[in-house]
C-alpha cells in the first residue's frame, strides 16, 4: 500500500488542513497520508482535526527548524 504524499509547505492556516481533508476523502480507510507543512499552527490544528474524525497521527517529526512531517492514517 503506497503512502500518499501531500506537500503543504508555504501554505498558511487553514490551508494545510483544508488540503488534507480534501486528500483524505480520496484515500481508503487504513491508508496513510504523509503531509509536510511549515504552518506554525499545523500541529495544533492537525491534532484537533484528527480528534474530530478519529484518524491517527502515526508519526510527527521535524524535518528542519520550520518544516514538520506527519503521517496520518485514515480511520
Amino acid at each position: 500500500m503506497a503512502a500518499h504524499e501531500l506537500d503543504c509547505k508555504g501554505l498558511n492556516c487553514p490551508m494545510p488542513i483544508v488540503r488534507l481533508s480534501q486528500a483524505m476523502r480520496r484515500v481508503a480507510a487504513g491508508e496513510v497520508i504523509v503531509i509536510e507543512a511549515d504552518d506554525p499552527a499545523f500541529r495544533a490544528d492537525l491534532e484537533a482535526w484528527v480528534r474530530r474524525f478519529g484518524h491517527v497521527i502515526e508519526t510527527f517529526e521535524a524535518v528542519d527548524d520550520r518544516v514538520v512531517r506527519a503521517t496520518v492514517k485514515k480511520s
Partner: protein, 233 residues
C-alpha cells in the same frame, strides 16, 4: 389366459377379473403419482425456504452494516453545521470569517455564511450606478467596489493600512481575501445575501458574485438553531 397370474385357478369371470385388475392398476398409479407429487412439492418448498433464509440473512447483514455506518456518521457529527453572520465589511474581519468558514468545512461541518450590511461588500463583483436613486448612487460611490478594495477595521489611514496588510499577508503567504472567497465557494460554503440590507444599501443582484442564495433574518436563524457554532463577525 383365463388362469390367474400366480397360477391359481380363479372362479371369476375372466372379463370381470380383467376389469378389476385394470381398476387396481389405475388406483395404484394414481396413488404413486400423488405421493411423488407430494414428495417433489416438499423438496421444492424446502429448497425455496432455504434460499429465502439465505437471502434474508444477507439483507439483514447489509442492514446491520448500514445501521452501524449511520451511527458512526451521526457520532462523528459529519452533518454538524456552522453559521456565520458576516456584518462587517473590513478586510481583517472578512479574512477571519472566511478562514473560519473554510477551516470548518475541513473539520467536516456544513457551513452557511449570511452577509448583511457592510458584509455585503465581500460579495461585490462590480458597482452599478444606473437605475439607482441619488442616495443609492452616493452610497455606491462611497462603498468599496468589492473584496479587493475593502479597508481595515483599524489603522485604515486612507487606504495605506489595507495596502500594508495585503503586502504583509502576501509575504507571509496567507491566502488573499478574494482567494479565500473563491475557495469557500469551491468548498460549497452556502452564502446568503441579506435582501433587506441589499434594499437599504441599494445593492443589486447583478453587482454580486454568482452562486449566492438570497434570504433574510429567518433564513439565518433557521440554520443557526441547528448549528453547533454560530459566529457574528
Amino acid at each position: 389366459m383365463a388362469d390367474g397370474d400366480n397360477g391359481k385357478t380363479s372362479t371369476l369371470d375372466p372379463e370381470l377379473r380383467r376389469q378389476i385388475e385394470a381398476m387396481i392398476a389405475e388406483r395404484v398409479e394414481a396413488e404413486v403419482a400423488a405421493r411423488l407429487d407430494a414428495a417433489v412439492d416438499q423438496r421444492v418448498r424446502e429448497a425455496a425456504a432455504a434460499a429465502v433464509d439465505e437471502r434474508l440473512a444477507a439483507v439483514e447483514a447489509t442492514l446491520r452494516d448500514a445501521e452501524g455506518r449511520l451511527r458512526a456518521i451521526e457520532a462523528s457529527g459529519q452533518i454538524d453545521q456552522v453559521s456565520i453572520l458576516v456584518f462587517s465589511g473590513d478586510l481583517d474581519r472578512l479574512m477571519s470569517a472566511f478562514i473560519i468558514a473554510t477551516g470548518a468545512v475541513a473539520m467536516g461541518f456544513e457551513v452557511a455564511m449570511y452577509f448583511t450590511f457592510w458584509g455585503l461588500m465581500a460579495l461585490k463583483k462590480k458597482t452599478v450606478f444606473h437605475s439607482k436613486s441619488v442616495p443609492e448612487r452616493m452610497l455606491a460611490a462611497m462603498l468599496p467596489g468589492g473584496p479587493r478594495t475593502v479597508g481595515t477595521s483599524r489603522m485604515n489611514m486612507l487606504g495605506m493600512g489595507p495596502a500594508l496588510f495585503r503586502r504583509l499577508m502576501r509575504q507571509h503567504n496567507v491566502e488573499s481575501l478574494p482567494d479565500l472567497i473563491k475557495l469557500a465557494q469551491e468548498l460549497e460554503v452556502k452564502m446568503v445575501a441579506c435582501q433587506m440590507a441589499m434594499g437599504v444599501m441599494g445593492v443589486r443582484r447583478e453587482e454580486l458574485i454568482d452562486g449566492l442564495h438570497y434570504g433574510g433574518a429567518v433564513t439565518y436563524l433557521g440554520d443557526a438553531v441547528d448549528s453547533k457554532v454560530t459566529l457574528f463577525i
